[in-house]
């Protein structure tokens, strides 16, 4: 070692506590550290373009499948099927995207990079915040892609621009909060493959036994009880109301309010649980 950076520690000062911490709030460090980890994860995604490509193909397949294969068989009073479908597709796509959080975290644990993070003076929750934020950014791209595909297959917005943007924001916020739930799974899984197979059985009933693709009225009575009152349906209903046109039966305000409460509630439960898991693992 030859060139010394200014202010470098050349002689140890063992009794000086934490020489690398300048005065700043813990929240400030959390945000900075979380951003560093976010960047790291985003760079990681761009280095595997194949994964990016194929993870985009899947939601496009869903659009085409429902738009052209099932559309004729599904009756959606008050809506063109494509207008009914697309908000459901948005929610489904970003929810599937949120599974990336569990896979990514499990992989980090498996590959040992989290060992290094644990021995660094960084904010503890930054590892989780950085992962969920990176997955949010990825989901913004998924959302834009789905919008583009939607417009190509005939989807049209029948509400105002403000409502439409509000709906998009709600869908993304939901995905972000869901990511924290998948973070819990990622921290509990022994490896990334297991994280993946643990995540989908949780996700499938919520996305398909919901109002995303078909009106819940067509489901058997016992299933309707679940389908009506679960968070994916609540968010899909609100998104549909904001992005496609008014859904008869529920006031727009109630639909939105319920979706926001569910979304915030998920964050309030899953974020502390994930942080607790991160701290206590090992």
């Amino acid at each position: 070692m030859t060139a010394e950076a200014p202010g470098a520690v050349t002689t140890p000062a063992p009794s000086t506590p934490g020489p690398r911490h300048t005065t700043a709030t813990d929240l400030g460090w959390l945000i900075r550290d979380a951003w560093t980890v976010t960047k790291r994860n985003l760079i990681g995604y761009t280095r595997i373009p194949e994964a990016m490509f194929f993870s985009s193909v899947q939601p496009i397949m869903f659009v085409l499948l429902f738009r052209y294969v099932f559309a004729g068989a599904i009756h959606t009073p008050g809506f063109n099927y494509v207008d009914f479908l697309m908000p459901g597709i948005f929610v489904q796509s970003v929810a599937f995207g949120a599974v990336g959080t569990s896979i990514g975290l499990a992989e980090d644990l498996q590959k040992g990079i989290i060992e290094r993070f644990r021995a660094l003076p960084m904010a503890r929750s930054a590892v989780l915040a950085g992962r969920t934020t990176a997955d949010l950014v990825r989901n913004v791209f998924v959302m834009l892609l789905m919008l583009g595909v939607g417009f190509l297959v005939g989807y049209r917005v029948h509400t105002g621009i403000a409502q439409f943007l509000g709906g998009a924001l709600l869908v993304l916020a939901f995905a972000y909060c869901l990511s924290w739930g998948f973070a819990v799974i990622g921290m509990a899984a022994p490896n990334s493959e297991t994280a993946q197979v643990m995540s989908f059985p949780v996700l499938f009933p919520f996305t398909f036994a919901s109002s995303a693709f078909v009106p819940v009225q067509t489901m058997p009575g016992w299933l309707q009880g679940f389908a009506v009152n679960q968070p994916v349906s609540k968010v899909v209903n609100a998104a549909r109301d904001l992005m496609s046109g008014h859904v008869p039966g529920v006031s727009s305000a109630t639909a939105t309010w319920e979706a926001v409460v569910w979304t915030a509630g998920m964050l309030a439960v899953f974020a502390p649980l994930a942080v607790w898991k991160y701290r206590s693992r090992i």
């Binding site: 070692m1 030859t2 060139a3 950076a5 200014p6 202010g7 470098a8 520690v9 050349t10 002689t11 140890p12 000062a13 063992p14 009794s15 506590p17 934490g18 020489p19 690398r20 911490h21 300048t22 460090w29 900075r32 550290d33 560093t36 980890v37 960047k39 790291r40 760079i43 990681g44 280095r47 595997i48 590959k111 040992g112 990079i113 989290i114 060992e115 290094r116 993070f117 644990r118 021995a119 660094l120 003076p121 960084m122 930054a126 090992i282």
Partner: protein
């Protein structure tokens, strides 16, 4: 305060598994290099992980640079650098991006860590590969980057867990020089290693660890002196002859005799005298050695006689979930009972039960 690390009676058990640490105690003088040696599964990595706040011990206390690793974990993290046994680097990032990330997470200002990254890439001969993703790195390059990452924040206390495993001789000696330079600037280093040569070259003090406790402590010179002035190395025709010779020597009071495959080693103070006696003994027993040499003791000999385990045989590390150690092929002069677990390889737990180590 002169001790950079004070570990007292550290205990750690893993669920359903053995006691990885069983009352481990040692101290590292500030500004020195301390070597932790021990066979596979001895508890070296566990000790390092506790001292670097990654793990919490079940019992005992540890202080690093005066700070408790449990109650002042965050402060400790701000003072240390760690290169763990398994490279903890991001495959998808380039070498430069990896080091920058560590600098940023160490809360260094951006210009400072970018500069530091450039220095380290040059120092570890990675400047050509610095902008390639790690996926394209060889194992040794990855290892070097991992060690570089430990140095980003110029830590006052550095932990290196088998830093040169998998490095070629040139990289290994470059790393030794780097460590020596750091120490000359005042850094304290705790390193674990399987290579006696490395411990001999770098460490001011060595603790030999087995079954989670320190079984010998001292300077390399002192440990070697313990072996006796010279080591007698006898090569024999086969394992049976070697076993026979070992027993023969033990029966004449040379309890330090230890068998390694087809040969027998013995530390002696009275070299030439012992040689004459032993040759006579072998002759009477009709055993004909094909090699008979007297040499200076190495740390290898010390290690073998203390733990009964050949060193640097870590070919299995990582493959076996229990990190099975090679079995005690030979019995040390103060170690396990003669004959325990000879020949076959068993799991660590079995070896422990069988050997009845104290």
């Amino acid at each position: 305060m002169t001790d950079a690390v004070e570990a007292e009676h550290l205990v750690k058990s893993f669920k359903g598994s053995v006691r990885a640490l069983d009352g481990l105690s040692f101290a590292v003088r500030a500004g020195s290099v301390f070597g932790l040696l021990g066979p596979n599964g001895a508890g070296k990595t566990t000790a390092v992980r506790i001292l670097t706040t990654i793990l919490t011990p079940d019992g005992g206390t540890a202080r690093v640079l005066g700070h408790d690793v449990i109650t002042e974990a965050r402060t400790v993290r701000g003072l240390i650098g760690l290169a763990g046994q398994y490279a903890a680097v991001d495959e998808n990032l380039t070498g430069r991006e990896n080091l920058d990330m560590v600098g940023s997470l160490n809360h260094l200002p951006r210009p400072a860590y970018r500069q530091r990254t450039r220095e380290l890439l040059v120092q570890f001969q990675l400047d050509d590969a610095g902008d390639r993703p790690l996926k394209t790195y060889s194992g040794g390059m990855r290892r070097r980057l991992d060690v570089a990452a430990a140095l980003v924040a110029r830590p006052a206390m550095l932990f290196l867990d088998e830093p040169t495993t998998g490095l070629d001789p040139a990289s290994r000696s470059a790393l030794w020089i780097a460590v020596e330079e750091l120490v000359s600037q005042g850094t304290t280093v705790l390193l674990t290693t399987q290579y006696m040569e490395e411990a001999d070259r770098l460490a001011h003090e060595i603790a030999v660890v087995d079954h989670g406790t320190v079984i010998a402590l001292g300077t390399p010179a002192r440990l070697k002196a313990q072996m006796g002035a010279t080591v007698l190395d006898i090569g024999l025709a086969g394992a049976a002859d070697a076993a026979h010779t070992t027993e023969l020597l033990r029966s004449t009071g040379r309890s330090g005799a230890a068998r390694v495959g087809d040969s027998v080693e013995l530390g002696v103070d009275d070299g030439p005298r012992a040689a004459i006696e032993i040759l006579r003994l072998l002759d009477q027993a009709g055993i004909e050695p094909h090699r008979f040499t007297l040499r200076e003791p190495t740390l290898d000999d010390v290690f073998l006689s203390l733990t009964g385990n050949p060193t640097a045989d870590d070919g299995l590390a990582g493959a076996d979930p229990d990190r099975g150690s090679f079995d005690r092929q030979r019995s040390g002069d103060r170690g396990s009972a003669p004959g325990s677990g000879r020949g076959a390889r068993r799991s660590r737990r079995q070896a422990r039960r069988g050997a009845g180590h104290g």
